[in-house]
């Protein structure tokens, strides 16, 4: 009978941490801790900074007061309202949107083996835009009342990714190239639908609203079911993708490698598509189409902690959340009292970042 014991034990000297992984784990854990601290400070500053400055110490006292159920004493009520009712939901939305877009971008880059992939690769943003345009321009409410805009955007996003999935799947297989091309094609087609809706409505005001929505904004943030749903979905996505880290590593190498390691590439890709579509759909419905986060942040995360997804996914989540918080702060503050669409800031900050990374990534070529 064959035996599996063909590997001689290592010498005692090298047997403790033979791959140097413990050292790397310590280092990466330190990086993640630092990123968490930066995110926490950014969140407090995000609540503190605004047309009315609230001291960070007061912000913390108000937050602690609300969380423990014993309101902080000696602070005026307007500060409390600004912190708790106005700015905190917006900061939480920014954290959720940034983290979600970043991890979905990382997963898609692995899934189609292309560093240019981003969460909108699958036509999700175009589908959501078409849905949103139908609501803004023609008052399509689908009986959803005040959530009509978010609802139709979400349904548009899901319809687009379903379409991409069905078209890209041939003979029971989904390959990365086919997925990439189908996503691009469906994206163009649905962008045309949105443009047509804008054109057909003939409403300049409506066109402006659609445009604003396309560039993304966190201004609609408020406490309630949609915010809670988004945070739950994003948290679940971050956890699932972190748990799937090793499968993502394998799929990023190739379909053949994934198969050889006992991971059905088509089945895993389908699971990933479902998770990513849901997460991005919820995000787009809440905040419009904020570009660049999902493209740039995963690259930055990999530079900090390496390409193994066990580290790259959580690092992307933390970095994405921080990045979007600061982008939103700039969007709110730069042209006061007007608010810039956050998509403009994300692209303006993100593009030079990406150029810098590209130069660092391949110094020789």
């Amino acid at each position: 009978m064959p035996s599996t014991v063909v590997l001689a034990p290592l010498s005692a000297r090298s047997s403790n941490d033979p791959l140097g992984r413990r050292r790397r784990r310590r280092r990466n854990a330190a990086v993640l801790t630092a990123l968490t601290a930066v995110l926490a400070v950014s969140a407090v500053l995000g609540v503190a900074i605004g047309p009315v400055w609230v001291a960070p110490a007061d912000v913390v006292r108000i937050l602690v007061g609300h969380l423990t159920g014993s309101p902080a004493e000696g602070l005026d009520l307007s500060a409390d309202a600004i912190v708790w009712d106005v700015r905190l939901p917006r900061v939480l939305l920014g954290i959720g949107v940034g983290a979600g877009l970043a991890v979905c971008g990382a997963a898609l880059q692995a899934m189609v083996r292309n560093l240019l992939a981003d969460p909108y690769l699958l036509g999700i943003n175009s589908g959501a835009s078409s849905g949103a345009a139908a609501t803004i321009l023609f008052g399509v409410t689908l009986g959803l009342g005040e959530h009509a805009l978010a609802g139709s955007a979400f349904l548009g996003a899901l319809a687009a990714s379903l379409l991409v999935f069905v078209v890209a799947r041939t003979a029971g297989r989904i390959t990365s190239v086919r997925l990439l091309l189908t996503g691009v094609a469906v994206g163009y087609a649905l962008s045309a639908v949105t443009s047509f809706l804008v054109f057909a409505s003939g409403s300049a005001e409506g066109a402006r609203s659609v445009m604003f929505w396309l560039l993304g904004s966190l201004a609609l943030a408020q406490w309630g079911g949609p915010l809670a749903a988004l945070l739950v979905v994003v948290l679940a996505t971050v956890l699932v993708l972190t748990f799937w880290a090793r499968r993502l590593d394998a799929l990023a190498i190739g379909d053949e490698t994934a198969h050889v390691l006992g991971i059905g590439p088509t089945r895993f890709r389908t699971q990933l598509l479902v998770v990513v579509s849901l997460c991005v759909g919820v995000i787009v419905a809440a905040s419009g189409c904020i570009g660049f986060v999902g493209l740039v942040v995963p690259h930055l995360a990999r530079r900090l902690v390496g390409s193994a997804h066990a580290w790259a996914v959580p690092a992307s989540a933390l970095l994405g959340a921080t990045f979007l918080l600061w982008a939103d702060l700039l969007a709110r503050m730069l042209m006061q009292p007007r608010e810039l669409p956050i998509g403009i800031i994300a692209a303006l900050v993100g593009a030079p970042f990406l150029l810098l990374l590209i130069r660092r990534l391949h110094p020789s070529s």
Binding site: S3, P18, G20, D249, G254, L261
Partner: protein
């Protein structure tokens, strides 16, 4: 042991394999040889269901592959495939640890035991010192050894290799095949290897299967299969066999044009079909 019977496979209407039987017992190295396009790589891929044959069945230790889950197949068969992470560079240690995937639930992280197994596998191929370096920066020979280490970390008892000596210099060609042969002889693993180099097949295989146009032309010990009578019609070259030490080596040269036929130039000479 791997036993395949009546394997047929086709891409669309183009038939690649027609009715192939194969038996690879424990403790032996089975070589698949044949010219480009003869179907040897396709055959290897059907043996671990990277391709599912149109008809016929593959049994591994008596169990039909169709009844085994992808993970169960990966626990029994490890395969050395040539794919590179490309744009998302992994460290060598991560690459080898991936071999532990079939043994862990998808939600479990690699533990200390996995580290030990991966490190031993790397030490076995003489590449432990590369553990903390990026896989992409390795030379061809180093990559090959790391991929074999990943297959070893999988701890399966069947090993499939597709042209493992590709792009390797002579020394590494022999090192890799020595390693593979050692697995068969000393650990009684089943090894199936696709080889282009017939002299390597002659030196390292217990059995060889000579394929041509998706069919088995000859099978048996290298001494019986790798003969001018079998090889000349398949490869369309002249073959000479020279006794060397206790084995033999093959030498090749183009077929001499017949005296009455017009001399063919390299431009008009029929080219071998490529894979």
């Amino acid at each position: 042991m791997i036993r395949a019977s009546g394997i047929t496979f086709s891409y669309g209407t183009r038939s690649i394999l027609s009715g192939i039987d194969l038996a690879a017992p424990h403790g032996q190295v089975l070589g698949l040889v044949g010219p480009n396009g003869s179907g040897k790589t396709t055959l290897l891929r059907t043996l671990h269901h990277a391709l599912v044959p149109r008809t016929g069945s593959v049994l591994i230790d008596g169990d039909d592959l169709r009844r085994l889950s992808a993970r169960e197949i990966a626990r029994r068969i490890s395969v050395v495939v040539q794919e590179s992470p490309g744009d998302l560079p992994l460290l060598v240690s991560d690459m080898v640890l991936l071999g532990r995937t079939p043994h862990r639930s998808s939600f479990a992280r690699a533990g200390a035991e996995d580290d030990q197994i991966a490190a031993r596998a790397l030490a076995r191929v003489g590449a432990l010192h590369l553990a903390a370096t990026p896989f992409d920066g390795l030379s061809g020979g180093e990559r090959q050894r790391v991929l074999i280490a990943r297959a070893l970390a999988q701890e399966s008892t069947h090993l499939l290799l597709d042209e493992p000596t590709n792009h390797l210099d002579v020394r590494y060609q022999h090192e890799v095949l020595d390693l593979v042969r050692d697995l068969a002889v000393n650990a009684h693993h089943t090894v199936v290897v696709v080889l282009h180099d017939l002299n390597l097949a002659a030196s390292y295989c217990d059995q060889v299967l000579l394929l041509h146009d998706g069919q088995v032309v000859a099978r048996g010990a290298p001494d019986d299969v790798l003969t001018p009578e079998h090889l000349e019609p398949v490869y369309e070259v002249e073959v000479r066999r020279v006794a060397l030490d206790d084995g033999f080596q093959l030498a090749f040269r183009p077929r001499r044009a017949r005296a009455d036929a017009p001399r063919s130039t390299p431009h008009t000479a029929p080219r071998p079909r490529s894979a």
